[in-house]
Subunit: 237 residues, 2 copies
């Protein structure tokens, strides 16, 4: 495909741009170990994250109205603390820990790659994270987004078509002028079904040794890249 037809790049964020697993494990340890808890912090992170898709699925299937991800994260945090039998967490600690998702750190290639891509294209988020989460994460990690798009602006969680298409509409572009970039095959398949172009960015260590899928591109995406710098190379940035 002709790269000159692409006007904007939109990115999945959790896993694709930032390393949620290491960040959450580290933040949970920092917050809870000083209260005397010792546990497998990576398992804690995985357990919190495991409640993410089911919580969104209730919204997607109409079991509840749209609520932003910060709220789902908090509900899931309260559950996971119970699962690990962690008690006596103050409301301040709870809020601080829930906002660990606002402080996730980028993979090392993300910021330099995005800075290169930003020179040639509009770059934006296309995440299920809410706007405040995305903005705070960007400030904290130096992510140079031009625009925050995704679930909260569309009031719909990916992979619902509305999430992608609201972003495309707000950019006043054709779907084929927007390149969806993600480390997850299903996200790209859903975006591609709406006419967006697709770029796979490999993150084979996102789930650590527990990773079961998304080791590599499983479909004929428009671009297949090793990381953000490789994507910049392939797009001539």
């Amino acid at each position: 495909m002709d790269v000159n037809n692409i006007k904007a790049l939109v990115f999945d964020v959790f896993g694709t741009v930032v390393d949620w697993r290491t960040s959450i494990a580290s933040e949970a340890k920092q917050c809870l170990s000083k209260k005397g808890y010792e546990l497998d912090w990576v398992l804690f992170a995985d357990s919190w994250r495991a409640k993410y898709q089911p919580a969104m699925e209730r919204v997607r299937t109409g079991g509840r109205g749209f609520v932003r991800l910060d709220i789902l994260h908090m509900e899931n945090l309260i559950e996971v603390l119970k699962d690990f039998d962690i008690k006596s967490v103050t409301e301040t600690e709870l809020n601080y820990l829930n906002r660990a998702w606002h402080r996730l750190l980028p993979w090392s290639d993300s910021v330099p790659g995005l800075l290169r891509l930003k020179k040639k294209f509009i770059i934006g988020t296309m995440s299920n994270g809410n706007v405040a989460l995305m903005v705070n994460m960007a400030k904290n990690g130096g992510l140079p987004w031009d625009v925050i798009l995704g679930a909260e602006p569309a009031q719909a969680y990916k992979p619902e078509p509305k999430t992608y298409l609201t972003g495309v509409d707000w950019l006043n572009l054709k779907p084929s002028e927007v390149l969806m970039c993600a480390a997850h095959n299903a996200d790209l398949v859903a975006a591609g079904a709406q006419g967006l172009k697709t770029a796979f960015i490999a993150r084979p260590t996102e789930y650590g040794p527990n990773q079961k899928h998304d080791f590599e591109a499983e479909h004929d995406f428009d671009y297949i890249s090793e990381n953000m710098l490789d994507l910049a190379d392939k797009l001539g940035c």
Copy 2:
């Protein structure tokens, strides 16, 4: 007031951050003079702009549903071309000229001021301009926004409360943690009525010799500044 309570700054854009009048006059001249038209290009810009508030007022009062500003600008452009008896403008020229609003140039203090403010605060738009317009303008003029908020995200034109409050909600802040910055008294009064803090930025030449109001702050705003650099000084950036 304590500046440490402020978490985000949101800005009116047309007039406050960019000089629409000089930019539109220059773009109209560039586009139409080569077709043989000679006219008062600043008057052309003023005439186009004069149709802006009445067009939004129809949306505000329910005379039509929300449509993005690009569409109102186009309808107004077609009218103003008729008013000036300008004919034989191709569709390509019409689209290019309408997107002159996407290419408005910043006042000279805007980018250096915003870069200073961005180090300490979230900085975002709170404009009646649509998202694509804001994003393209930022790419063209180097405006370093963290987030695009305003009329299109809220589906309501300022000074409707919903415009300001949707932005505050998406940032997950209290209104009192958000500082509305504008060169227009009425915009600040409306934002202040919703609990936002207010900063006046003087732009006494926005309308050239025709300026009739907004020479100075007419209310007791939280900050009153000469330009963006002065605002950065006053906010300790």
